[in-house]
Amino acid sequence: MTDAARLQWAQAMVVTGIVLYVPANVLPVMTMTVVGTVEPLTVLGGVEELYDSGLWPMAAVVFLASIVVPFLKLASLSWILLMHGSPLAQRRRGTLRRVVHSIGSWSMVDVFLLAILAAVGQLGALAGVKAEPGGFFFAAVLVCSLLAAEFYKPRMIWQTNSEPTR
């Protein structure tokens, strides 16, 4: 794969990720049925529920992992891709890329949480957990930003327009 193709794939993945970020956060990720009441929960709704029950450290962890991290990841990748070929802030772009890479996997917390809740929440009308389309979009955002970072190799930050790309 040429570097030009890598750049294009990375751009396509980031754009897709940004588009999917909207339904991932607007649509419910799951519906919880508790003793007859059906409650759809978005990612943010799940955080709120934790906060309301007084568990704010846990609410903070989930908020950071599933809302802030995916957003930061998409934003930083967009910036890095937009700056491609420029000789400015190359070192900073490299550092940012590494930071984003190391915190990126934490957003999987929400997907795992959905899997665990779906597995034990099969007690009929008393307590039921059903996955909803939001979960699909959320997982898609994760995969898109992961692939984007995979396509755009760190060495490509150091290519400038004056120097022909390999």
Binding site: E49, R91, G94, M108, F112, Q122
Partner: protein, 208 residues
């Protein structure tokens, strides 16, 4: 496209930006940083053995079996009880029509961690026993690719959050599986930490 051989006489290619960096002998604990991007190119870690990595990987593989076989928690609402495994979440998501999400959970929660530990075990064993096992170099590359996908520690956090949530709906009880998941994440982290890439390269070079 990328140069497979990082050593061009006394020059090392920076793993991050591929700029050539002049290699030199380092005093203990010192490191060589890339002059262009600032990333560490080489470190004199002072480690002499890959046995800790081998031990953690072996332990991790055993614990991985337990973590997948033992139930993680039981959930009880008005006398109805349900317990779960990592894999039962995968099955349930697939059954509800979310196959791709199920596949992601299965890969990051079961397949990648086991492959990651197996790969570390394989390479570390080859180095410790000084055997020329097939495809060792390729497996070493695989370790690097799999490392960000070993998400058992993240799964452990998700388990805690899940218990807190379920506690609002009914009675939750920890089971042995939760403990094994915690031990497995510690083993994975320790094995990855003790797996010294430069030492591995040195050992593999000596086997040739």
């Amino acid at each position: 496209m990328t140069t497979t051989d990082n050593r061009i006489s006394a020059w090392l290619a920076c793993p991050e930006c591929e700029a050539p960096c002049l290699d030199r002998q380092l005093p203990k604990k010192a490191e060589l940083r890339c002059t262009r991007c600032g990333v560490r190119v080489k470190i004199a870690s002072g480690r002499h053995s890959l046995q800790p990595a081998w031990a953690f990987a072996t332990a991790g593989l055993f614990v991985a079996i337990l973590a997948n076989v033992e139930p993680i928690m039981t959930f009880d609402v008005a006398g109805d009880t349900q317990s779960n495994h990592i894999v039962s979440g995968v099955i349930e998501l697939a059954r509800q029509g979310y196959g791709p999400v199920a596949a992601l959970v299965c890969f990051a929660g079961v397949i990648a961690p086991v492959l990651h530990l197996t790969a570390i075990w394989y390479v570390a064993s080859a180095c410790c026993l000084r055997r020329r096992w097939p495809a060792v170099h390729r497996v070493a590359v695989l370790i690097e690719m799999l490392e960000p996908w070993n998400l058992v520690p993240v799964y452990a956090i998700a388990t805690v959050v899940a218990v807190v949530k379920l506690d609002m709906m009914g009675t939750v009880d920890w089971k042995a599986g939760a403990l094994w998941i915690l031990v497995l994440s510690l083993c994975s982290l320790c094995a990855a930490e003790a797996f010294d890439r430069e030492l591995v390269e040195e050992r593999l070079e000596a086997l040739k």
